[in-house]
Symmetry: C2
Subunit: 199 residues, 2 copies
């Protein structure tokens, strides 16, 4: 007697789902079975949405954010403040900033951060594109909104050095206590930076 | 200035992913962005696997487990013990039993459990199919492997009553301490049942 398992098509679906980030074998199984059992709720729409997103989404050649054939919603929005360019690591870092409502300028996504261990050099990031973009702008403030880990710091320092030769102001977003966080939960480095950045 | 958001195709993909069980807004966003950014790893294979599973997987008319056009791997396996029929709630309950390796007979999936609050009556479950199936078999042991919550108990009691008129032995799987569990972590009901079921 052979032990029974899911039919081949379900097993293939589980294998595909398991590759998604944050999805383990058990969640993949649950999702696959849900998709098969809820035929009324049209799981095929997921397949269609995926194919369509796959086919139509590209990265904006100017800022590096997600764009479609219709263009980039950010670069095409001429009501934004053209004196502000915020440099972020990934295209996904744009939306948290947008949702905060605290920034009204344009963005530039580097596509990563400097990391010698992973063989990421300045040539792998969209730094040249940033420099070219700045040549066409005047009196611009470049805000570095990079993560506060070692690689993010290294990238910010490198950019500050490169941009020092350009006619633009360079600032970095502040580091300190997160909103709602008490002193007792903050680590020493965060506290040190919060103290250094006091105003 | 309008706040930027993901392009429409990505938003639709996120909406579809959010409908999956166990996937919240943030995981859906992460998955969608992963799918778009890892084009090399062929996320389209997921869409294909989904369409194929959707099209080819049905439920076995005899036992209610997942089947394809090639048939049901369990019902078609004639090396199994035909004197044993294990009654489970859902098709998904079959695989844990199969993986335990402790059962070598056939299965019957009810498709749910009795639940007056959710309007699930005996006519909504595959009980008639079970009775018909048992008419063609002789000296069969029917093992009720239902969950140990209120609805599972009610379903088991109902089935025991209905099957009492048939020429078959009816047993239930044991309830007691889970493997590896200490007494200190067991609730009172589990302990009571473990004591009642001592052997």
């Amino acid at each position: 007697m052979a032990r029974a398992d899911y039919p081949q098509p379900i097993q293939e679906l589980i294998a595909e789902l398991k590759r998604l980030p944050g999805v383990g074998p058990r969640s993949a199984e649950r999702m696959a079975v849900w998709m098969i059992q809820h035929k009324k709720r049209n799981p095929l729409e997921l397949a269609q949405a995926l194919s369509q997103a796959e086919a139509s989404v590209t990265l904006c050649p100017a800022c590096g954010f997600f764009a479609t054939a219709d263009g980039c919603t950010i670069c095409d929005d001429h009501s934004r403040d053209e004196k502000l360019v915020c440099v972020v690591e990934q295209a996904t870092d744009v939306l948290p900033l947008e949702r905060s409502g605290a920034f009204s300028g344009y963005y530039h996504c580097l596509g990563g951060k400097l990391s010698p261990l992973d063989n990421v050099t300045p040539y792998d990031l969209r730094i040249n594109q940033l420099l070219k973009r700045l040549e066409t702008l005047e009196e611009v403030e470049v805000i570095l909104a990079l993560s506060s880990d070692v690689e993010g710091e290294a990238t910010a320092n490198y950019l500050a050095e490169v941009l020092a030769e350009k006619k633009c102001a360079v600032t970095r977003i502040a580091q300190g206590l997160p909103a709602g966080g008490g002193l007792e939960h903050a680590d020493e480095l965060t506290l040190m930076r919060a103290l250094q950045g006091r105003r």
